[in-house]
Structure formats: structure tokens, C-alpha cells
């Protein structure tokens, strides 16, 4: 009885080893972890990309949203999954600030960038029936009533928080930052008048701007941006000093654990390059106000490092960082 049991076990173990050695990646469904909640910008990008990647990989990607902790919950989940390439992280820029904000003790350096899909541009929006018609209007009002106006945010290290910090360092305005579960719920609160202003990715605001429900006061960029036939002035028009932080914006990408086997990485990079360059996906990215990129590997790592150094030091300079970027070897830009 016992010996037959042992034999079965041994056979099982052997066959398991044999299976891993011979099977070509991927031989089963992959799982994709989305850093932000359903309906947010990261979510839509991930769900639009996945079918193209599935076509290239020949296997399904089962997507789940794991929002929370400004992305730390998803990075923690993926870093603790096996490094076999079957668990993909569909994320945004946030983990690059996890160290300085002490949300996690690691950022994207522990992950391999399968593809940086594209970068976005942020706009500062207010409800369309609000009294402010330019960023300067809002900032002046906020200065008159310090700590009265409310800014929608997505938690420390989120896009609204970073843009708010940059604005604060330039203008010294004071607003209350109310955290929501993502850009979507934040925009909902803005539409309901529960917050007064919110910096968001263009994608999350475009349809509402088009419908005339919100107005964009400024684009966080050096040049004006045209949305739905309206020209949105650059932030530097009212505050030229803001220029030192530009260009800056959120980005989206796909990562796996860095210690994933190289051949698996290669398969993933190939598949996601095909997916990210699919015309349908490129159209969707552009429609949502993003600049398609589709870079990976060394090039992507350089992009990530540069972004991290600029942003981490901004937060450090305005006193929003909880730990100095120095501590983690993040160089000054």
C-alpha cells in the first residue's frame, strides 16, 4: 500500500518535471493583474491590449483588477507569484514612487518591462459650471481660501498627487486632497461636485470634456492640446516655472518578475510588441490622448529610471516624499 503510494508520487513528480522541461511557453492560460480598478485608464488599456496579446501567444490571459495601495497591492501580488512568466502585471507609473513614499520597498526595478505601451498627458479639470476658467483663476481662489477647495486624488503617489505637488511647489496653493479608488471614481465625484478640481490622464476626461460636463483648465505639458475641437492651454502659460518638470505624464505597460527565464521573456516581448503595434490598439491609445511607445528591455528600463529620478526628486523637493530618493540610490535628474 505504502510502496504503491510512493511509486505513484514518484511518477507524479517525474512527470511534472518532464512537463516543465519540454512544454513550450505558454502551455496554459496566463493571468494578468491590473494595478487599478475596473473602468480606470490602466484597466481599459489592459483590456484593450489583452486580446491582441492573446492572439499572439495562443493562450488566454485571465485579467483581474487588484487595485489598492496606489498599486502596491498588485506589485506585491505579482512579486510573490512564481517567476514563470504566467503572471503579468498591467500597470501604470505609480510603483516608481513606492520607495520614496514608503508604500513598498521596491519599484519596477524588480520587474522586467515586457512593454511600455505608451505615455499619457495629464489635464487639470473642473466641473463646467464652476467659476474658474483658467488654472490661474483656480490657484488664486485656492490661495484666497487656503484649505477650503477640494482636489480629487487617487492616494499618495498617484497622478493627481504628483501633479498637485508640482503645482504646490510652483504656486504655494493649499487644497484638501480627497483620495478615491482611482481616476474613474474621482471623476465621478468631480461630476457630482464633491471635489472641485482634479488632475487626470486625458483619457479619463476626454469624453466628459467633449460632452461639456467638465472643462480642462490646463494640460500638464509645454504645448497646447486639442481635445474635441477645443484648445487646452499648457500649464506653462500661467506658470512658466512649471516647465522644469516637463515633459511629465503617466505611462502604461506590462511587466513580469525580473528573474523570469530569458526565453519566456523573449516570447512575451515578441507577443506584446505585436499587440502594442496592432493598428486597432494604436487607434485606441491615440483616441484616449496617449502617445503610443511599444518599447521594452534596456530602452524601457532607461525610460523608467529617468521618470523615477525626475518625479521622486520633485516629491522630495516639495516635502511630499516620506524617504529621501538618495536612500534607494535614485540619482538626481
Amino acid at each position: 500500500m505504502l510502496s504503491s503510494c510512493t511509486r505513484t508520487l514518484a511518477a507524479l513528480a517525474l512527470s511534472a518535471v518532464a512537463a516543465t522541461a519540454t512544454a513550450a511557453f505558454p502551455d496554459r492560460e496566463l493571468s494578468g493583474v491590473i494595478m487599478w480598478g475596473a473602468g480606470g485608464a490602466t484597466d481599459v488599456v489592459a483590456r484593450a491590449l489583452a486580446p491582441h496579446a492573446e492572439a499572439a501567444l495562443g493562450k488566454k490571459i485571465v485579467l483581474t483588477n487588484r487595485p489598492g495601495g496606489t498599486g502596491a497591492i498588485s506589485t506585491n501580488f505579482v512579486i510573490n507569484a512564481p517567476a514563470d512568466g504566467y503572471t503579468l502585471l498591467f500597470g501604470a507609473e505609480n510603483p516608481q514612487l513606492h520607495q520614496v513614499l514608503q508604500l513598498a520597498d521596491f519599484g519596477y526595478e524588480k520587474f522586467f518591462p515586457v512593454s511600455i505601451l505608451g505615455r499619457g498627458v495629464a489635464v487639470v479639470v473642473v466641473k463646467s459650471d464652476s467659476p474658474w476658467n483658467s488654472l490661474k483663476d483656480f490657484v488664486e481662489d485656492a490661495k484666497k481660501r487656503p484649505g477650503k477647495l477640494k482636489m480629487g486624488s487617487t492616494g499618495p503617489g498617484g497622478l493627481p498627487h504628483t501633479v498637485g505637488s508640482m503645482l504646490n511647489s510652483v504656486t504655494k496653493f493649499q487644497v484638501i486632497s480627497v483620495p478615491f479608488d482611482g481616476e474613474g471614481p474621482g471623476m465621478t465625484a468631480l461630476l457630482g461636485g464633491h471635489v472641485d478640481m482634479m488632475p487626470v490622464g486625458v483619457g479619463a476626461a476626454a469624453e466628459n470634456i467633449k460632452a461639456g460636463r467638465v472643462k480642462a483648465l490646463a494640460v500638464i505639458d509645454g504645448e497646447a492640446l486639442s481635445i474635441a475641437g477645443q484648445s487646452v492651454p499648457p500649464v506653462t502659460r500661467d506658470y512658466p516655472e512649471f516647465g522644469k518638470y516637463l515633459p511629465w505624464g503617466p505611462f502604461y505597460g506590462v511587466w513580469v518578475r525580473r528573474d523570469t527565464p530569458d526565453d519566456v521573456k523573449a516570447v512575451l516581448v515578441r507577443a506584446f510588441r505585436a499587440a502594442a503595434e496592432n493598428p486597432q490598439f494604436v487607434t485606441l491609445m491615440k483616441d484616449r490622448g496617449n502617445v503610443p511607445m511599444s518599447t521594452s528591455g534596456v530602452e524601457a528600463d532607461a525610460f523608467l529610471k529617468k521618470w523615477q529620478s525626475v518625479t521622486a526628486w520633485v516629491l522630495q523637493d516639495v516635502g511630499a516624499a516620506k524617504a529621501s530618493p538618495d536612500k534607494f540610490g535614485i540619482p538626481k535628474p
Binding site: 493571468s31 480598478g37 475596473a38 473602468g39 484597466d43 481599459v44 483590456r47 484593450a48 489583452a50 486580446p51 492573446e54 488566454k60 490571459i61 485571465v62 485579467l63 483581474t64 487588484r66 487595485p67 489598492g68 495601495g69 496606489t70 502596491a72 497591492i73 506585491n76 501580488f77 510573490n80 513614499l101 508604500l103 484649505g147 477640494k150 492616494g155 499618495p156 503617489g157 484638501i176 486632497s177 480627497v178 483620495p179 478615491f180 479608488d181 474613474g184 471614481p185 471623476m187 465621478t188 465625484a189 461630476l191 457630482g192 461636485g193 464633491h194 471635489v195 476626454a206 469624453e207 466628459n208 467633449k210 460632452a211 460636463r213 486597432q280 485606441l284 483616441d287
Partner: protein, 503 residues
């Protein structure tokens, strides 16, 4: 208008769309009935599947699955005391006692008819009042969500069983369980003790299956010798008189369902719990005491959760804002199919709205025969000898828990909660309040803190806003009325008014 009519009937006239809606509804019933398989999961899997289809075909299939799935959750709640989906938690409270009395067939028959009714009322609200309701939903501030959650937590009083103190303890325990993990607002750990498993939080489906399913299996072991109750399956379709009797109640609970469903921060699970609470508070003499198999206790949550489905479509179609997790996935699907969900959706693609309405009506019609067929076979599950049934329930619970996130740790959670639930039940604590706390705890936490942050941490301003904002003031008044009308002083007062002796 004739255009709207033609889009409304599009999926009725096209045989392929008709077939997809029917297939979706049928599949949905079983997805809903199996614990651990959720509609969200099914819909997100379908999205990559329907990627190359026309958008109408994908929407037809999804509408069927969504309505069928929300309805199907009641089935395992009634037959096994394991809610197939969180929106069926309230249904288990009276549905399972009904099955224990041999009325599983009647219970499923009644929930089917009432779900369909709730669905129709919800669709009517969607068709008539979508733009108005979605604008109303936007007005709900964080403090209003807090009030809703407090309203929901009052249900602890109804779920407590023999001792209110025990119910309150269980409810607070649930709230604490819901707090475990990284705080979504500051990313600080709460009760995580450096463990990554804990920092991801405790999945509430694992807790639900543990506290309901596993704990119930262990309690049942005390009655192994008892032969299962013979199920009465002669009368499946409820008599018209019974349906008519519950029409007023179901109209009110459907309204609760649509409104909660339309709120972007609350879905069918909360709608069903609040409807149950409403039924318990307003029903003067229920068919049986609540918790022991009252028909009202299954009618209310089942109408509400099906009415919440069209409710969730309201902000999705009018504003591009998801009403719950499933509509969030549908929004993703619309993007991928080249649509642009948002406030322009109804202006740029008005046909989509009427297509969705027509489709939901169709799926709801299919629900009736599909739900009513096969009940006889299902009711037999309860008649299976316990020695066979209990191990099977356990395996199903384990697979269902594992399936949520493919995580074996969740299965250990499930077992741990099952054992805890067993001892709680043996010592007269109810597990209902624990689940209530797990569901409402995070909503209370986030809404309270958002509301407090919005007034810069000044408690006086915080309190003042409950009376200065119209919606909050209405909610406060309704809440106060609910609490007061239950108190002895109130019934004494009303008694004096009527000239009858109060007790």
C-alpha cells in the same frame, strides 16, 4: 421613436442574437449557482472570446449572463446555504430554512417569478428615468454612502438571533475582518504584521463560503442520523394569489434595487441586504418569522438584486460610469469594440441604449421558463443522504474558493472561517452579521474618511453637512425614522393613536 422601437426589438427579430441571449441566460444561471464562479469572471473571460464579434452580439450574450447569474445565486443559497454569489447572501437567510422544511421547490419557484418581476421593474426604471437617475446618483457624496452603509449595518439587529449583543459582536468582527490588508487610501498596513498574504486583504467570497458553507456542513454533522426532509415538488409555479400578495413589497424592494444598483459605489449585494432589512421592518405578519423560512425574506432580496442589474446599466449607458464590477467590465468591452463609453455615448450612438433595454427585456423573459424548469431535479439535491452530500459540498466550496483568484491560501482561509463559524453557531452567534460587516466595513471606512477629509478633519463641519445637504438630510431623516419606528416609544405612541393597547 420608431427608430428606438426597431432597436428595442433588434435582438428579438434576429435569430442569432435571440440564440445568444438565451444561451447567455442559461449559462448565467449556472455560473451564478456555482459558488466561486462569478458573473464578473464569466463576463471578463467572454470579452476576449467575443473580441472579433460585432458589439451587439457581445452585449446580447453579456446581458443574458448578467441577469441569469444574479438570479442563479439564489439556487445554491436555498439548496445548500452557500450563496452562489454575494448578491444571494440575504436569500440564504430564509431560503435555506425553507428547503429544510421541504419547500425548496416552492422557494425556487417563487424566487424565479419574483426575480423576473424585479428585473422588469428595474428595466422600466432604466428605460424611463435613466438620465434623471444617473444625475441623482452623481449627487451622492461620500457622507451619503456612509449613511447608506450605516442603514445597512442596522440589519445586524435583524440577523442577531437570540442575543443582540452577540449579533453586534459578530458584526463588528466582520468589519474588522474587512479592514485587514493595505489601507486603500494611504497604503498603510492594517493588521498585516508584515505578511504579504495579509496585506492583500481577506477575500470576502472565501469568508462567505467558509462562514456559510463549511460551518453549516460541520453543524449538520450533529444530525447525521436524521433522514433528509422529503421535498414537496408538486407545486413549483407559485399561485397567482401568492404573487399578488407580494406585489406591493416587491415594488418597493425593486425600487431599492434600482437605486442602489445605479449608485457607482454599491451593487446587488448591498441592494439585496437592504431590501431584506426593509422587508423585515415593514412586514407586519410574515408567512413565518424571518430567519425561519419567511417567503418575504426571499422575495425582497431576489427582486432587489435583479432590479439592481438594469440599475447598474443606468450610469454606464448615460455617463460611462460603472454601476458595479460587471458593468465596469462591460465598459472595457465597449472600448475594445471601438465605442466610447461616456456622456456622449447616448448622443453619438443612441441606438445602443434601446438595444440594451430590449436585450435585457428579452433575457428577463427567457429567465422565467429556464428558471422554472429543472427545479424538481434540483430540489432532490436536498434529499441526498448527508453522508454523500456533505463531502461534496466541501469539495465544491474548496474549488469555488480556489477559483476566485487561483490562490490556495484562500482555501485555508475558508477552512479557518468555517471552524470559527462552527463554534460561533454552536454558542448562539449568527454568521449573517459577520458577512454583513465584511461587506459594509470597507464602505463605512472609506466613505467616513473621505467625508471627514473633505471637511479638513473638523468634526463639527462633518456633522453639519449631514443637515445642510438635501440628499444627506433626507437620508438622515429616513434613517432616524427607521430606527425610531422600531423603538418601543414609537409603537406605544402609535398604539395610543389607534386607541389600541401597546405592548
Amino acid at each position: 421613436m420608431p427608430e428606438a422601437v426597431s432597436y428595442f426589438f433588434m435582438s428579438w427579430a434576429n435569430p442569432y442574437l435571440l440564440f445568444l441571449t438565451a444561451a447567455g441566460t442559461f449559462a448565467g444561471i449556472y455560473v451564478g449557482a456555482i459558488p466561486g464562479l462569478s458573473v464578473t469572471m464569466a463576463v471578463s473571460i467572454l470579452i476576449s472570446f467575443t473580441f472579433k464579434w460585432h458589439v451587439n452580439e457581445a452585449l446580447a450574450l453579456i446581458a443574458g449572463i448578467y441577469l441569469g447569474g444574479v438570479y442563479g445565486g439564489a439556487r445554491s443559497a436555498i439548496l445548500l446555504n452557500i450563496p452562489g454569489a454575494p448578491s444571494a447572501i440575504a436569500t440564504a437567510l430564509d431560503g435555506y430554512p425553507l428547503a429544510k422544511r421541504g419547500e425548496a421547490g416552492t422557494a425556487i419557484g417563487l424566487t424565479t417569478v419574483m426575480s423576473v418581476l424585479g428585473g422588469f421593474l428595474g428595466i422600466a426604471a432604466l428605460a424611463i428615468g435613466a438620465p434623471m437617475l444617473s444625475d441623482l446618483a452623481l449627487l451622492f457624496a461620500p457622507r451619503d454612502y456612509l449613511l447608506l452603509a450605516i442603514w445597512g449595518i442596522l440589519l445586524v439587529g435583524s440577523l442577531s438571533g437570540e442575543s443582540l449583543a452577540k449579533g453586534v459582536f459578530a458584526g463588528a468582527l466582520g468589519v474588522l475582518i474587512g479592514m485587514v490588508g493595505l489601507d486603500p487610501m494611504t497604503a498603510e498596513g492594517r493588521f498585516t504584521y508584515g505578511s504579504v498574504q495579509l496585506s492583500a486583504g481577506i477575500p470576502y467570497v472565501a469568508a462567505m463560503i467558509g462562514f456559510f458553507g463549511v460551518a453549516e456542513v460541520l453543524v449538520q454533522l450533529h444530525q447525521l442520523g436524521v433522514t433528509p426532509i422529503k421535498q414537496n415538488v408538486r407545486k413549483i409555479v407559485p399561485a397567482w394569489g401568492l404573487v399578488k400578495k407580494y406585489l406591493p413589497l416587491s415594488a418597493r424592494t425593486s425600487a431599492i434595487g434600482v437605486c442602489i444598483g445605479a449608485l457607482p459605489g454599491a451593487g446587488g449585494d448591498i441592494a439585496a441586504l437592504m431590501a431584506y432589512d426593509h422587508a423585515k421592518r415593514t412586514t407586519k405578519d410574515p408567512s413565518r418569522p424571518f430567519g425561519e423560512g419567511a417567503y418575504e425574506g426571499i422575495v425582497a432580496p431576489e427582486t432587489a438584486n435583479n432590479a439592481a442589474v438594469p440599475g447598474a446599466y443606468i450610469p454606464m449607458l448615460t455617463l460611462g460610469i460603472p454601476g458595479d464590477a460587471v458593468t465596469a467590465v462591460i465598459i472595457g468591452a465597449l472600448y475594445i469594440h471601438g465605442m466610447k463609453p461616456g456622456p456622449m455615448l447616448m448622443i453619438e450612438t443612441p441606438h445602443l441604449f434601446w438595444f440594451c433595454v430590449g436585450n435585457l427585456v428579452l433575457a428577463n423573459i427567457f429567465l422565467l421558463p429556464m428558471g422554472l424548469s429543472g427545479i424538481r431535479i434540483f430540489a432532490k439535491i436536498v434529499e441526498t443522504p448527508k453522508a454523500i452530500l456533505l463531502p461534496l459540498i466541501l469539495v465544491l466550496s474548496a474549488v469555488g474558493t480556489y477559483a476566485i483568484e487561483n490562490n490556495p491560501v484562500h482555501v485555508y482561509w475558508m477552512l479557518g472561517f468555517g471552524l470559527l463559524g462552527y463554534f460561533l453557531k454552536m454558542y448562539g452567534f449568527q454568521v449573517g452579521p459577520v458577512i454583513l460587516g465584511i461587506i459594509l466595513g470597507p464602505l463605512i471606512d472609506a466613505s467616513y474618511r473621505r467625508a471627514m477629509i473633505s471637511v479638513a478633519d473638523t468634526p463639527l463641519d462633518f456633522l453639519a453637512e449631514f443637515f445642510t445637504s438635501p440628499i444627506s438630510a433626507i437620508l438622515v431623516a429616513a434613517l432616524a425614522f427607521t430606527v425610531l419606528s422600531q423603538s418601543r416609544a414609537w409603537s406605544a405612541f402609535m398604539g395610543r393613536l389607534r386607541g389600541a393597547p401597546a405592548h
